[in-house]
């Protein structure tokens, strides 16, 4: 594990020098004890925004650089860099629209790629998709962006999500006045007395 961490740190230092980009690292230990290191590079870069580099064996040294550009992920990741860009350009209404649409499309692609749709994680993801679909960029508030970012971070943290954690994601969105469920229109008349 320590070897991997050191190797990862070295890689990050190298990437920082080469790409002048910010990098965040997360480590996930799978059931089989295989350690997966995820490297996200944000900012203008030749490297895909969300790259994940698997380590074949935790004990064996791994040539990270040869794997750059190859996306192998145990679960799909939501691009957090888009949210950073959205935050940086929030006051520019045009930029906000352009970037928010990219974020929506990014989520949409992820939804399409889901092999099976069930369980807490998919439920939270679809709740997030509905929440962003139900709001236009011009009505988006900074508080709502914070809530979206919080949920994205929870979703990116692990492959699975407990039902309660999924509910918590939906509640974070509701508290920010977002609607993580489809809007139903015109059914009220069926409830009239």
């Amino acid at each position: 594990m320590a070897e991997n961490e050191n190797a990862t740190k070295r890689l990050i230092d190298q990437l920082r020098k080469e790409q002048s980009a910010s990098i965040t690292i997360q480590q996930t230990e799978t059931v089989t004890k295989t350690v997966t290191t995820k490297i996200e590079v944000s900012g203008a870069s030749a490297i895909p925004l969300a790259s994940t580099i698997p380590l074949a064996e935790p004990t064996k040294p791994y040539n990270f650089l040869s794997q750059i550009g190859v996306i192998v992920s145990p679960y799909p990741l939501i691009d957090e860099a888009i949210i950073s860009r959205l935050r940086e350009n929030f006051d520019d209404v045009q930029e906000r629209q352009i970037i928010f649409l990219q974020f929506k499309q990014n989520l949409e692609k992820m939804r399409e790629s889901l092999p099976v749709k069930k369980g807490g994680k998919d439920r939270a993801l679809i709740g997030l998709i509905d929440a962003v679909s139900n709001i236009k960029s011009e009505n988006l508030t900074f508080n709502q962006l914070n809530a979206i970012e919080k949920v994205v971070k929870i979703l990116n943290k692990s492959a699975e999500l407990h039902e309660k954690a999924a509910d918590e994601c939906l509640n974070i969105l509701i508290e920010a006045d977002l609607e993580p469920v489809p809007k139903l229109v015109g059914i009220a008349r069926y409830y009239e007395a």
Binding site: K117, L170, I174, L184, A188, Y191, A193
Partner: protein
């Protein structure tokens, strides 16, 4: 120029307004939002019970049907066969159509969206409304949908309200509001359209325990109106029932 609005009162929302606020056509939703803008909004747990009994139960029913079928088309065909009324069929089909229209969602995705609505719907639909305990202390209002072993949803504890099982203080509520209910009775007796209602009201005033169970549902509008505090204006879309009851009970009403 925007018309002047009174913002010095509490808006007490009945079930019909909460349903319209969330499930009407967009232009009507906007109209309601505009009317309620800047007003403190309140409702009672009795209204929450009605919301659960109507909307949440429908969503749970729809979820269980779809869970058992292999496709949306199968679920639609089955609903057409078994629905108790045209109202129920149309509503179920409309909900399914609207959810599946989103990015051409498939069966699994519709199931997930229904699940989200069941699990957090009550919170979402009441998100800007302060809820206080009804004088009836209706126990059903506090029932929560839980996932069963087969993946469908049911209320816990189970949704049952009979006269034999004491789950509320509706009889105490009737006693406490005896004078208001007698005024209401005298007022409504003048209108033959309320004959069935006044007959029940007489029976309940004579024996408040009769208010439990199904009779409670029949008296629902009166209970909601009596739950509203004196400083509030009741907001409803139900002109037919709320207008005469509010007039008789001297309660302020704003029809949407």
């Amino acid at each position: 120029m925007e018309p002047e609005r009174s913002t010095d009162h509490v808006a007490f929302l009945d079930t019909s307004v909460i349903i319209s606020k969330n499930f009407e056509k967009e232009n009507i939703k906007r109209k309601i939002e505009e009317k309620l803008r800047d007003l403190p909004k309140r409702t009672s747990t009795y209204v929450v019970m009605e919301l659960k009994r109507r909307v949440l139960k429908d969503l749970m029913y729809l979820h269980s049907i779809l869970l058992e079928e292999e496709s949306l088309a199968d679920a639609q065909r089955r609903l057409a066969k078994i629905s108790k009324s045209k109202r129920q069929l149309k509503m179920c089909l409309l909900i399914l159509a609207q959810i599946s229209d989103i990015s051409a969602a498939d069966r699994d995705e519709v199931l997930i969206r229904l699940e989200n609505m069941i699990r957090v719907g009550t919170r979402l639909y009441l998100r800007d409304i302060e809820v206080f305990e009804s004088g009836t202390r209706c126990d059903l209002a506090h029932r929560m949908p839980i996932k069963t072993d087969v993946g469908s949803y049911d209320f816990y504890p189970q949704w049952s309200c009979t006269r034999k099982i004491i789950q509320c203080d509706v009889d105490i509520f009737i006693n406490r509001n005896d004078s208001h209910l007698r005024s209401l009775l005298n007022c409504l007796l003048k209108d033959s359209a309320w004959n069935v209602y006044t007959k029940l009201l007489k029976e309940v005033l004579a024996d408040p325990s009769l208010a439990r169970g199904n009779n409670c549902m029949t008296l629902g509008d009166t209970i909601i109106i009596l739950d509203a505090s004196l400083d509030s204006v009741i907001y409803s879309t139900n002109r037919k029932d709320f207008e005469p009851i509010c007039r008789c009970l001297n309660k302020k009403l704003n029809l949407i």
